[in-house]
């Protein structure tokens, strides 16, 4: 019997995904005849059979990803086909789907020539340890760090120099928990309905994890009296509508936020290594909720538009975002983002920054509340606005100045700006 292993198609490749089995269990096969197709990165490869015989068992299903050198199938003599119930080795658990972290094979794999592979190469984890650069391993050794405990952001999850240094840095400030507990593994049908993530969902997930990891987020929340904005909106609504624009509170907030970004360029900046990059353009992103995700279309050079222009741009981008008609460049190059959790009734939100920006403005719901004005209680429309900011660059004082400016301008919105 010959074990067929996931081949290593390159030095930097730690795992592969089986995209198609060309042969079925029970098919006879010649040595070098194409047996299956794998996919790594942007490359698909057809893998020939290492031996002649009959395909007796397929251990890794189409769509599954396993570490290099994991056994994916066995080739035996005719009549050796295994049926369910007489499997001598534990089958690959369902949980191996897409989780290269779990050992793909219970036993040390043997390649066609009968050589026993190093057990450490059995898992992506082991490979990562092995394949980290000598410098990283040296640093790990010097600091007595177990590389398998370090989250790798390099190729195939490899631990980079930044990862290890970051880990050591963190370690100084407090104890690290042991390896995270393995995530839950679900089989379809066990009281659950399992659905693969859409690409947009995955992108959002990646981006949000990146953001949470990258920026130390700090939040300030301000209460804003919307009486004047509300009054102006009611007064001008019809006029705008005649011009084909639906005047929303978002347009007022956008206008004032843009002025604030002009005033406080640090909020419109980004970090590049040890440099602070001040963006001369103000490209305003507006988060738009979609059925199963969200997208952030960007109004380029938003500071060149008046309130009507902004209103039109917001209407247009939001509509086209919902109908998936945005041009790719219209979701790029944002320098600051506004998001509106208030639409759904939230008092205020704590949004994550849209990287590589350094701040995001969250707009809460606008509700009538009892407020104290000149020692009297009055009923006013009130909105809570939140600035989530990257404390690496934007301090609380900056955020305070920014939000005070926004509050002041909204509460005293000048009709001339319309």
């Amino acid at each position: 019997m010959t074990n067929v292993v996931m081949p290593q198609m390159g030095e930097s490749i730690a795992e592969g995904t089986i995209v198609r089995w060309i042969k079925k269990v029970g098919d006879s096969i010649d040595r070098d005849e194409p047996l299956f197709e794998i996919s790594t990165d942007k490359v698909d490869a057809e893998i020939p059979s290492p031996a002649a015989g009959v395909l007796t068992e397929i251990k890794v299903k189409e769509g599954e990803t396993v570490a290099v050198n994991s056994v994916v199938a066995t080739i035996g003599m005719a009549g050796e086909v295994r049926t369910k119930g007489e499997v001598s080795e534990p089958p690959v658990p369902e949980a191996a789907v897409g989780q290269a972290e779990s050992p793909a094979t219970p036993s040390a794999p043997v390649d066609a020539a009968g050589d026993v592979e190093e057990p450490a190469a059995d898992t992506a984890e082991g490979l990562r340890r092995q394949k980290s650069s000598p410098l990283v391993r040296k640093i790990a050794h010097e600091h007595k760090v177990d590389l398998s405990q370090v989250h790798g952001t390099g190729l195939s999850g490899r631990v980079t120099k930044q990862d290890i240094l970051g880990y050591i840095q963190l370690g100084k400030s407090g104890p690290r928990p042991a390896a995270p507990p393995p995530g839950p593994t679900y089989k379809p049908g066990e009281h659950v309905h399992v659905v693969p993530m859409s690409v947009m969902r995955k992108k959002i997930a990646e981006h949000m994890v990146l953001s949470a990891r990258t920026s130390p987020h700090v939040y300030s929340v301000y209460e804003v009296n919307f009486s004047r904005v509300s009054m102006l909106r009611d007064r001008k609504k019809a006029e705008y509508e005649a011009g084909g624009a639906k005047l929303t509170y978002t347009a007022f907030i956008a206008k004032v936020a843009i002025d604030a970004l002009r005033q406080f360029p640090i909020v419109n900046a980004t970090l590049d290594g040890d440099n602070i990059v001040y963006k001369k353009d103000i490209n305003l992103g507006i988060a738009v909720a979609l059925d199963n995700g969200l997208i952030v279309p960007v109004i380029k050079n938003a500071d060149e538009k008046n309130l009507l222009g902004l209103t039109r741009a917001i209407n247009d981008l939001a509509n086209r975002a919902r109908t998936k008609k945005l041009n790719p460049e219209e979701v790029q190059s944002g320098t600051f983002t506004i998001t509106n959790p208030g639409i759904f009734g939230a008092l205020y939100g704590m949004p994550l920054i849209n990287q590589p920006q350094v701040a995001i403005l969250g707009v809460g719901s606008i509700d009538k509340r009892a407020v104290v004005i000149d020692d009297a209680i009055a009923i006013r429309p009130v909105c809570h606005i939140t600035l989530g900011h990257d404390h690496r660059l934007v301090d609380g004082a900056d955020a305070g100045r920014f939000l005070s400016f926004v509050k002041e301008r909204l509460e005293n919105f000048d009709e001339a700006w319309m």
Partner: protein, 229 residues
Amino acid sequence: MTRIIEVHRLGVVPYGEALEIQKHLVELRKANEIPDQLLLLEHPPVITLGVKTRNDRSHVVASAETLDEEGVEVFESGRGGDVTYHGPGQLVGYPIMDLRPDRCDVHRYVRDLEEVLIRVAAAFGVAGGRSSGLTGVWVGDEKLAAIGVRIARWVTSHGFALNVSTNLAHFNLIVPCGIADKGVTSLERLTKRSVAMDEVAGVTADAFASFFDRSPVQPALPPLLESHR
């Protein structure tokens, strides 16, 4: 001794035909009956799905009617990668090359293709680069060239697509390579002048041959290819 690479400039070839031509050449190359090949061509407008997406068209955002209106075909290909768009003004390169004995590393091959295209872009004054984790050649957040490769017994097929003067609006029909938040660009857009496809093809052939250390020859089309023209 430097290996030979035969460079074929095929003009505009429908995607299906180019697939057939590649299939033939791959078989011939595997059997060592021909030297390495580089096909340079353009496709009529077509959306192609990689192996990963052949059963999932969610990255083709345009409706069937829109695709019809725009005269865009949809094709399943055997290459790696997600969905992509090809069309006039895009230089498509299909190297049919044996990576043995010294280049048996699929990642290295993809990185090498990127390097060749970065050099081509540089020849036109465009500073292309790589984007960590994303294959292709990028200028800022925008993709200038896409890469998708197939390898069978270390013989390559499929390859790269470099936007020279592509109608970039056609990329709106898809989510290129499944990456929703990045855009596309072209040499023309970046250089703000018109760039001749012929010139780019010439520069690409030279850059490719020199990088992969092959001497380029431009023979007449072999009969097999001819039968597909």
